[in-house]
Symmetry: C2
Subunit: 244 residues, 2 copies
């Protein structure tokens, strides 16, 4: 599996993805799930993917091939809505090519994507794109999307993330959310890609590859667990339970 999260804040975008893929527990590999499309000063887009790796890799190859063509591509589309449509269209091309063959082997066409970014002339935007190529856009009410193993790390995001959250706090929240997921689910693992896009910068502000040696993530792993246990012990226990 996979865990990716994208957060749309007033200050910009924070995206975090893991890199574990598995085809059964005896077939675990490392593949990055974050792809960048950047023309500094003009546009910056990030695409994160979960699902069948053969499908999502094919999609990304197709998107990159298109960059060199005259047709619509991620370097030429006028805005992020058109970018989401283009990604959806390319995913439908993959489906048209591979969908039937997979079905014959009983394999589901399983792909989900988060597309975020900013193109000159509009604010940063964030989309979740489904296997059918349709998509939804994040709003101030729901300023984040998750794909893959989303449930373990959802409670902390629900409690912390607001559009006003700063980029560094959002990055911290994303890493805590990832830590909770990694601890409870073997199918999500290091290294991580943490990307920050500041509103208006139109280029990558920070792209950090986080492995087991990363001191900040190590601090999160250790201290968040301690903090949770401290917070847990600080709450009064129910007094109606007879202990003896």
């Amino acid at each position: 599996m996979t865990y990716c999260v994208g957060m749309l804040l007033d200050a910009g975008l924070v995206c975090l993805s893991d890199s574990r893929t598995n085809a059964g527990v005896d077939h675990i590999n490392t593949f990055r799930k974050m792809n960048l499309f950047e023309r500094p000063g003009e546009r910056v887009l990030v695409l994160m993917s979960a699902g069948n790796l053969a499908l999502t890799q094919t999609l990304v190859s197709l998107l990159r091939e298109r960059l060199a063509t005259d047709g619509p591509n991620l370097y030429t589309v006028a805005n992020m809505f058109e970018a989401a449509r283009h990604v959806g269209d390319c995913l439908r091309e993959v489906h048209a090519r591979d969908g039937e063959a997979l079905k014959e082997f009983g394999i589901e066409f399983n792909a989900s994507l988060i597309l975020g970014g900013q193109i000159l002339g509009e604010e940063p935007r964030l989309f979740q794109i489904y296997a059918a190529g349709n998509f939804i856009e994040a709003t101030r009410d729901t300023p984040y999307f998750q794909i893959g193993e989303a449930k373990y790390g959802k409670p902390i995001i629900d409690r912390v993330i607001r559009p006003e959250t700063t980029l560094d706090e959002a990055a911290k929240c994303a890493l805590i959310s990832m830590d909770s997921t990694i601890r409870s689910n073997l199918s999500v693992g290091l290294p991580l890609d943490l990307l920050v896009l500041r509103t208006g910068a139109l280029r990558v502000c920070s792209h950090t590859r986080i492995d087991a040696e990363n001191a900040y993530f190590e601090m999160i792993r250790t201290r968040w667990g301690e903090s949770l246990r401290e917070a847990f012990h600080a709450l009064p226990s129910p007094d109606w339970i007879p202990l003896a």
Copy 2:
């Protein structure tokens, strides 16, 4: 959906279940998912269920019918292993009766159970029983089971629960785990059943039905969220992210 958790501690058993059922978001009802089988001083068993309500209710009716018969039943089985076998056998009877008919309507035979308790002559034991009637037993390494919407509330249990955890602390942890689940998933809801069985007591020590008026759960709801946010803000933010 449903969320139920059972914890096996040195001091006894803590079980918590919600009561929301849904057949689509426009068909939401309240059904308790915790069933008690008690002969004070001799045995006490608790069964929690998730999955298709028609199946799990049929199972419980069958188990209760059997109590009045000479065949094996939950009041006569010699130990908890035999109790788990008996529940598994009854579930297979339900499958033999209903499985084919459901399949014709494309409905999965979906049922999962947690069975815990103590029978005179042995320590408390805890089992997770699958739809096929097979089961696993909790150990000191993995002293808890969850069924239903298990993922949201798993991280706090993984961090806190050990066999040495006291019953009141375990009850607090179960309620925090439930609160995280309810906040992030509409398909899990109040009221809750919280049951505590103390090792050796061979009867229910505490059975609390928790609704929105329950002051302790209201305290958990409010203060756990605050504690998490405080713990979150107390951790340093990453300092490599350029904020402007």
